[in-house]
């Protein structure tokens, strides 16, 4: 479903963030991407929908002919509609209401003036209601996004990504600004929703424990290179040391 070939990114300051990533993700697979800060996790998922332009390499999406890196602007927008994204600090537009934030996920499908006057098709509105109900925030619909708590905001962020009706979710550190309880709830919600919709997801995550518990496949990234790719159960102390460096990992691997 998603295939990257020798994907590289060099920033203008000369920093090599990605040193050739080859990866293939089948339909409906939830992948956790782990690695230390600065390993290139965020850069990697942003090169997939070209929020960050890759320097070289290819990204095939949906079929072997559809290379995202070679698309023009309007085709790129069409692809972006099919890729949902969830962000680290929620990235809700704080001064818009919950409903507007959720509906903004449909922007790629409606014209400018309709979106300007907030006239979305009834079908989209119904879907928004359904999603808000699913995440348990139906009663918050008219609240401004900055009135919500962290966990609630991330739920709205999830709804915004899902209303795009995507084939792939890119998730950037969804739990970095949440407490442990909310972190688990959010991870569980994302994984459940992926299963319900047979959705593939790439989840960047710091927390090895959460990654092991929720993902089907783990990819370890270090300094822009893949150093591990396999089952969560295969994460051993030596592999964690390889990804993160020397530390006592015995407690983490224990489960």
């Amino acid at each position: 479903m998603l295939k990257t070939i020798n994907l590289k990114k060099v920033y203008p300051n000369g920093e090599e963030a990605l040193k050739g990533i080859n990866l293939e993700i089948p339909n409906g697979q939830v992948v956790a991407l782990i690695g230390p800060s600065g390993a290139g996790k965020s850069t990697f998922i942003r090169t997939i929908n070209r929020l960050v332009e890759p320097t070289s390499g290819k990204v095939y999406f949906a079929n072997e002919k559809n290379d995202i890196t070679s698309l023009n602007k309007s085709k790129l927008r069409k692809i972006r509609r099919q890729i949902g994204m969830i962000f680290q600090e929620f990235a809700l537009v704080e001064r818009l209401s919950v409903m507007e934030n959720v509906l903004s996920g449909r922007l790629g499908y409606v014209g400018f003036w309709n979106s300007f006057f907030r006239k979305f098709p009834q079908k989209d509105i119904e879907e928004a209601f359904r999603l808000l109900q699913r995440i348990g925030l139906e009663h918050m619909l008219d609240k401004r996004a900055d009135e919500l708590s962290g966990g609630q905001r991330q739920r709205v962020g999830i709804a915004r990504a899902l209303i795009q009706n995507p084939m792939l979710l890119l998730v950037d550190e969804p739990t970095a600004s949440l407490d442990p309880k909310n972190s688990r709830q959010i991870m569980r919600l994302i994984c459940e929703l992926c299963k319900e919709r047979d959705l593939a997801a790439i989840i960047n995550i710091h927390d090895v424990y959460l990654a092991q518990n929720f993902a089907e496949r783990i990819i370890g990234l270090k300094a822009g290179k893949i150093v591990y790719d396999g089952k969560p159960s295969g994460l051993s102390e030596t592999i964690l040391t390889k990804i993160y460096g020397e530390e006592d990992w015995s407690k983490t691997v224990a489960n």
Partner: protein
């Protein structure tokens, strides 16, 4: 050797001693040279003091009555000018400020917009007014054009700074949904800069009214014309009345706009 006392002194503002002394020297030579090159006619000032006293007394009591219709007409004209100029200026400022924000505009548009801003900021309203009066004839239209133009420089500069400061991830999130550029501005940028936008609009309304009082002096219409006429006719009581009216309107505008700004937050 051991009887050296521990001394603490406040850390000086500028660490480098040489720089510190240099600065002091520089400032004193500057002040001296200003003093030496500025011709101040003390005789004239001494003469001026009693004259000034008479002059100031000529302002009292302020006379609102004799020229009341002229004062009223001037005030209203200033108000019309202010309202139209602020709206027109802001409408033009919106695209300019988008163009002058580094994070939005391509390089070429950026430099173009910055150029427009610098040009409109370089000249004080009065100088602009002189030229527009020359080009378009006396009256409020020239004044309005002047005020609109200087609104652009002020508004677009400050708004574009705010646009450059927006939260990037919110804007990025909107982009990732596949929105087009206009939708991205409408959803990702506009909500974030809206409070500043409204605050600046009210602030500029206030400034434009005050400026309308001076561009009248060079022929741009409004209350300034009334003031100028009063001075020309040596009707200082009327001039005093005009000044008092200006001050009180500015106070009212400022009071209401600060309240509105608090409401909008």
């Amino acid at each position: 050797m051991n009887d050296k006392k521990v001394i603490w002194k406040r850390k000086p503002l500028i660490k480098n001693r040489l720089l510190r002394i240099g600065l002091i020297l520089l400032i004193s030579t500057y002040l001296l040279s200003v003093f030496l090159t500025t011709e101040i006619d003390w005789q004239r000032i001494l003469e001026g003091i009693p004259r000034g006293k008479n002059f100031i007394f000529a302002f009292f009591p302020p006379d609102f009555i004799t020229r009341s219709d002229e004062i009223l007409a001037g005030i209203f004209e200033s108000l019309w000018m202010t309202i139209v100029a602020t709206i027109v200026g802001i409408l033009i400022s919106i695209p300019v400020s988008l163009g002058a924000a580094k994070n939005i505009a391509p390089k070429f548009v950026y430099f173009l917009s910055r150029g427009v801003i610098t040009l409109s900021r370089s000249f004080q309203e009065v100088i602009l007014a002189i030229f527009f009066v020359k080009l378009m004839g006396f009256g409020p239209f020239a004044g309005m054009v002047t005020l609109s133009l200087s609104t652009i420089g002020f508004f677009a500069k400050l708004l574009s700074e705010d646009i450059e400061d927006i939260n990037k991830s919110q804007a990025e999130a909107i982009k990732s949904t596949g929105s087009n550029w206009f939708q991205w501005v409408n959803y990702g940028v506009q909500p974030q800069v809206m409070p500043r936008f409204i605050g600046l609009s009210l602030y500029r309304l206030d400034i434009n009214f005050r400026e309308s009082a001076v561009i009248g002096i060079v022929g741009g219409g409004g209350i300034g014309s009334t003031l100028n006429t009063a001075f020309d006719r040596y009707e200082f009581e009327t001039a005093a009345a005009v000044l008092i009216v200006i001050i009180s309107i500015v106070m009212i505008v400022e009071y209401t706009s600060s309240h509105l700004r608090k409401l909008i937050k």
